[in-house]
Symmetry: C2
Subunit: 413 residues, 2 copies
């Protein structure tokens, strides 16, 4: 069915292979030996490691704290009636949660050709190591994660995993060094925070240019800035006693804030090759907020440009507002992904087909596993095959400069 | 062109009049004599009144504080290059800002058949009187506003203004009395807060049922709960130093939070005739958040129902999650409006045509005045005429039980 084309796009002229997708957002429950196998022998006890309590329950232990695994982080194989946030041990998880080879079976079954995975115990952009009392050793552990990601997780099945690496968020110079090191090992993307402010870090608008060296390096190395929803370590609350499901449904409000924040940041003007991926942020809210951004820019920029104060809020001026083109900036720099976002797909004429990717969120509770390819195909099946191919795989291959393995031949198919 | 139908809908069988709209969100700059003419003579000096400073600048004075008018609240007639948040005096405003008869000319020019207006110095849901040191006198002033709204503003042009009244948010029993009084005078809607928590008030989820008497009365009296964006007295900030235009473009995130909050509140199950209007909240974000609400309800309700804790957040259970129908609840209870939301209109198949109204935001800086009817007609012109009519007028007439005046015959038209 497939033939290799010059740019590594597996697609015959007439009939693209639409049986497989690339998921740009899945999750790893880190295996127990990840750090103890990689840090110096003398440091094994203080590296993140698993301890079992007297009730037989696993938890990660690091820097004097225990981190049990949430049941909602490893639901693959369970029915929604069985979902529970209660802690669970690795022995209760499906092996695909933590084992790269075992996961291949789960990927094959769900039509997942390749997968980009975010970490769990380190949190989405390595907050664990930033918050550690010994950041020097935190960096040792962070680098061990990156080595493991590339040398073990991804190497376990070439062409099936896209490496995502961490940076020491607390030190831009060290972050640049780590980006360069990882790029040299083949990484094309790193985890960043959708909003560094709640982490106690300067934002991308920092007047002192805290993040500029990092973004300059990302630009030069063509490393995609991957921001997972929740990577600000916040769960948005509509009100202190708002129903939990209302807050949960409101989750993408963090991602919409991140998109607007970047659109008006000036980062893309300074670093024209920079690209950001809004992971698990969904896409259905994008058309409205892009249109609204255009409207406020059109109507309100004139007085904003004068540097006036609005109440007590001083107006920031981070970008040339007269030349800012919201749609072009989105098209050239911002990528979204979806699990089963029918409204986002219905809006594809407004969003364009080149900035949308799919994800499966395996093994979290939003996942459609094991029906991933079926769910996506039902959503996009009315689109032209080449557009479907872009969404299923093509856009991810281009963004992450990734050539996937040939799709496996499955027994009985 | 028009003929009167049994339900007061001006529409011939074949050709509805699409030359006029009803705006469900405009703004009044209160006229100087509003309170001084209506409170007891002895209280005139302490009622809200206008004082001119030594530079000749107007400001409202009440309860020992000065409240100048923001230039952005009265831009009608100015080009966007002239917009400014600097304070301005009433003499610098277009008379339509504060004079009901003068506004008719501006409405006629823009195709606005009727208008529902929010107050300014009282703030969107009467926060001024709630924050006053003497709430008893605050209630006197609040009732004076309501009397003025009905007896002067709306009476100045019957069938051209929909009365919106205020309630004493600080006392539900008094609020019920005021709702009953105003309903008796013909009001069909009152201003409420999109989120009472930042105002220091219990939310609609309050375990003690703080708002239940008010919502029970609104249900019985069929008074629409009108919540203007910003009626929580908050401007959302993505980050402390986020660009102002990014925050401004993010504004509807308050309204999306309000919609989700109400959807999961149980209020509509307890009060089945209750209807809410999300004023100046726009509509383009609604399809995504409705779909997302359905998804989290489907996948996550099972463990949420068990009353589990999620981190430190206790899960609220305010509604029967097994029977909650997100789409039906939206259809039966929630109304949105738009100024020029192309994405919202493009999504009308998902939203339905019965819950969408239009607004012109006169005389604020988001307004399309004087091109209001032209802008809306361009957005909705591809829809069937009867659908256009619903959006332009029909839905507002039904929701607010309002029969507008026959459209005026304009000279030269």
């Amino acid at each position: 069915m497939t033939s290799t084309q010059p740019q590594g796009v597996s697609m015959s002229a007439s009939e693209p292979n639409l049986d497989w997708l690339i998921s740009v957002d899945d999750h790893i429950l880190e295996p127990a030996n990840l750090w103890v196998d990689r840090v110096p022998r003398a440091d094994r006890d203080r590296a993140p490691h698993i301890e079992v309590d007297d009730k037989g329950m696993d938890a990660w232990v690091y820097d004097g704290k225990r981190f049990p695994s949430s049941g909602l982080s490893a639901v693959a194989g369970k029915s929604k009636e069985e979902f529970s946030p209660k802690s669970l041990s690795y022995s209760e998880m499906r092996p695909g949660c933590y084992d790269a080879k075992a996961r291949l079976e789960d990927m094959d079954r769900a039509g997942i050709l390749a997968s980009l995975c975010f970490p769990t115990v380190t949190r989405f952009c390595g907050q664990l190591f930033m918050e550690a009392s010994d950041r020097e050793f935190g960096l040792v552990c962070l680098r061990a994660y990156n080595d493991w990601m590339i040398e073990e997780w991804c190497a376990a099945a070439p062409g099936r995993y896209i490496p995502l690496v961490l940076i020491p968020m607390w030190d831009p110079a060290l972050a640049v060094t780590e980006l360069e090191r990882c790029a040299g090992m083949g990484a094309t993307t790193f985890a960043f925070s959708e909003n560094p402010a709640p982490l106690g870090l300067p934002t991308i608008h920092d007047a002192g240019g805290y993040w500029d060296p990092v973004m300059a390096a990302a630009n030069d190395l063509e490393m995609v800035v991957s921001m997972h929803v929740g990577s600000s370590s916040t769960v948005p609350q509509i009100a202190p006693d708002a129903p939990f499901l209302a807050n949960l449904a409101w989750g993408a409000t963090r991602t919409s804030g991140a998109m607007l924040s970047w659109l008006f940041s000036g980062m893309f003007q300074r670093y024209p090759k920079l690209k950001i991926a809004l992971s698990e942020g969904e896409i259905g809210w994008m058309p409205y907020f892009l249109e609204r951004a255009e409207q406020v820019l059109d109507k309100q920029r004139h007085w904003v440009k004068k540097g006036m104060k609005f109440g007590e809020h001083e107006v920031s001026r981070n970008v040339d507002l007269d030349t800012l083109d919201v749609r072009a900036t989105f098209r050239d720099h911002i990528y979204g992904c979806f699990i089963e976002d029918a409204h986002g797909i219905a809006s594809i004429a407004e969003l364009g087909a080149d900035n949308i990717m799919c994800e499966t969120d395996y093994p979290h509770s939003d996942s459609t596993w094991p029906n991933c390819i079926t769910v996506v195909r039902e959503l996009i099946g009315h689109l032209p095959p080449r557009t479907q191919y872009k969404i299923l795989r093509g856009n991810a291959e281009r963004l992450y400069r990734f050539t996937p393995a040939e799709p496996p031949v499955l027994a009985g198919v």
